[in-house]
Symmetry: C2
Subunit: 236 residues, 2 copies
């Protein structure tokens, strides 16, 4: 089975959470919009080409005859198919709960640079962004990261179950994304999250994932993605 | 099986999406925090009493030995157990995709009155709220509702599959919530979403759900919930 991932070609963004599962599992996949003519294929899907589902927005995934969207759902679907998910009901539900909470955190990251409108450039909503980013740094990063750390403390070396799952890959991604976007704020918070940093390091060293991270397939973080670094939003 | 739903007792909020599934199915459940001593029980769970999962925030659900959180996951879990969900894989995935997109919309509704910080009162972030609500009314309501309408147009009288599912109940709830919060904006947009309004009406007339909506168990919309009506955020 060759998976088809549909996501914006120039950024890590939400699509990266799906890429990490595909790469860590060594799955065969096409990153559709990064192929020649792929943007047109993605637009056709957004306009209703898939009979099974009208996606609201990228990322979305085609797996044979099946189509689905929403980052956390894609990662859980892939994780369960590719051996990167718990097998028992409680494990599956806990994994999905955590993945959806990480997706909420990613949404809040997005809103630090787009607090009032997704249709308007960051530069035209800087005042509100400054306020929102301050609240995010002071309250939300500690709250979310503290919760991820507590979850690890309760469970052990992985977020859920006994083996590395898609949830650990998503945890890695949100931590490194936050470190790119908010290095100063993260320096303060991660003093209290040693298990989370150790997990980040273990995940980065996994053979297939490490090779991917060092490859050209891994798009560098940049100022068009969801994790963006604006100095004024992360003062020293 | 007696389900235990944990959510803030004074508002519909995100918990209402779960209540609608439980009520429409006629399931036995306890709305824990609305019972005597229930808030303490909810706080204990948030502090880590459940071995299976540390919830980040309400709503969360206990179903026997299983614990889960996140609105869309709770509704899909209940829907699948209580006969309010598609049975085939594509149907389940499409249902969850739509439910998660509705959850995103609900998050955006929340941010119209809390655009910069959840820790600060609406009254202290009114300027940003005015900007965010304007963008929400002009761009996001038409985009989300247009997408829900298109999904209905493609599928028929229900959002997914052939029978009423939890997705239809969630669609009902987000439409009536938006009508409470943004009556003027909704008046304009719903001219173009006749199928969505017809679905809202059909759902409201379902025997068990209609009885619930007319009962005291249905908390009225109010200014502490997620759907709030501020005149200045919905000008005529």
């Amino acid at each position: 089975m060759k998976y088809e991932l549909y996501y914006w070609p120039g950024i890590q963004g939400r699509g990266e959470f799906a890429r990490l599962v595909l790469e860590d599992a060594g799955a065969e996949y096409v990153d559709v919009a990064r192929e020649p003519g792929g943007m047109k294929k993605m637009e056709a899907a957004l306009e209703g080409e898939f009979k099974q589902l009208l996606p609201f927005a990228p990322p979305f995934l085609r797996a044979g005859d099946v189509v689905l969207a929403q980052t956390a759902l894609i990662t859980s679907f892939l994780g369960e198919r590719l051996g990167l998910a718990p097998k028992d009901e409680q494990g599956k539900l806990a994994a999905m709960t955590i993945a959806m909470t990480i997706a909420d955190l990613v949404g809040e990251v997005h809103d630090t640079h787009h607090p009032t409108s997704v249709e308007v450039r960051y530069e035209d909503q800087k005042a509100a962004a400054k306020e929102r980013a301050a609240a995010f740094r002071e309250n939300r990063i500690p709250k979310f990261l503290g919760w991820l750390e507590s979850t690890l403390e309760r469970n052990g070396d992985v977020m859920v179950g006994e083996n590395v799952s898609y949830v650990d890959l998503s945890t890695f991604q949100v931590v490194v994304g936050l470190e790119y976007a908010f290095p100063h704020a993260m320096n303060k918070v991660t003093k209290d999250t040693p298990k989370l940093l150790a997990l980040r390091d273990r995940i980065a060293k996994r053979p297939k994932l490490g090779a991917y991270l060092a490859s050209k397939r891994r798009i560098p973080f940049n100022q068009q993605g969801i994790f963006r670094h604006y100095k004024e939003l992360d003062p020293a």
